[in-house]
């Protein structure tokens, strides 16, 4: 089992790579979700402003 973690001595190169990959994938998901949420808020605000202008 420890062999797996040691990665033949290359552990300090292999594991950071996979961690970076996980980080980048995670960032992409988080960033895309945040972008969409911010866009929704902006649209709702625009609708609210248009509604208050009409009334």
């Amino acid at each position: 089992m420890t062999e797996f973690w040691v990665m033949g001595g290359y552990a300090r190169f292999v594991w950071p790579c996979f961690a970076l990959a996980a980080g980048v994938l995670g960032w992409n998901l988080w960033s895309a979700r945040r972008y969409y949420a911010a866009a929704r808020v902006r649209v709702q605000r625009a609708i609210a402003m248009a509604a208050s202008e009409q009334s």
Binding site: F4, M7, G8, G9, Y10, F13, V14, P16, C17, F18, L20, A21, V24, L25, W27, N28, L29, S31, A32, R33, Y35, Y36, A37, A38, A39, R40, R42, V43, Q44, A46, I47
Partner: protein
């Protein structure tokens, strides 16, 4: 027969399709990446020359491939927006840019970590590495140009032109290993040739490649929804769509 294609020019249609596709693409990505990581880390045998360090290929190669694929998508989408004036083309280009840039960065960083044990250095000014770095700068240039214009339409068109001009770099990166004497290894998986890798090593790699592609599609759909909302803020269909 081509109606599905023409409908892609319509923002509400794109919004709906993206919402529908995203979870499926993400699910497929999860399965493929999950298998790829497990098989690549556990079941693939260590390489004769590189030992266990070769396993970095399972994140490095997909990241680098995707950086090229995303840039080409950005350039093509920008061209569609510029030439045929289809606004959704610009939306796709804008959504793709940060995703592609992040993969370029991942490719460079994982490549650097792989280079240290293999070549003895974190960096080398070798054609493939250098042109991949130039690709990152091109991404940054496109992402900086778009918001610099007051008129967003103008910004879209300018960014599209820049992306198209920069696409010359993509074949340079891809062929750099065969055109120049490069430290970087040549193509492992050529389109029609039988790859030089044994199956137990190859299948996880192909799975990771496919998984990253599906992931890119999923995140693109997610970002695209935000882009469409931002661009179509004033349209009436948005009011109904927002409620769901």
């Amino acid at each position: 027969m081509w109606t599905w294609f023409y409908r892609l020019a319509s923002p509400p249609h794109v919004y709906r399709v993206a919402a529908f596709l995203a979870p499926w693409l993400l699910g497929a990505a999860a399965v493929l990446i999950g298998y790829g990581v497990v098989a690549g880390l556990v079941f693939a045998p260590p390489d004769y020359q590189q030992g266990d360090a070769f396993r970095i290929i399972y994140v490095h190669a997909p990241a680098a491939w995707l950086s090229l694929f995303a840039y080409t998508t950005m350039a093509v989408a920008g061209a569609i927006g510029l030439i045929w004036k289809i606004k959704m083309g610009h939306a796709v280009a804008a959504a793709t840019a940060p995703i592609g840039a992040s993969f370029t960065l991942l490719g460079l960083m994982t490549g650097s970590l792989w280079g240290r044990p293999m070549w003895g250095t974190y960096w080398a000014w070798d054609p493939r590495l250098t042109s991949e770095l130039i690709l990152l700068f091109l991404y940054v240039g496109v992402m900086s140009l778009r918001p610099a214009f007051e008129d967003p339409g103008r910004g879209d068109r300018a960014a599209a032109l820049l992306a198209i001009v920069g696409v010359v770099n993509v074949p340079i990166i891809h062929y750099s290993v065969s055109w120049w004497n490069s430290l970087h290894q040549g193509a492992t998986v050529a389109k029609l040739a039988i790859p030089s890798m044994p199956g137990s090593m190859l299948w996880p790699l192909l799975s990771m490649l496919a998984g990253f592609m599906f992931f890119y599609g999923a995140v693109l759909c997610m970002r695209l929804r935000g882009e469409v909302l931002n661009r179509e803020r004033q349209a009436t269909w948005v009011r109904e769509a927002i409620k769901t």
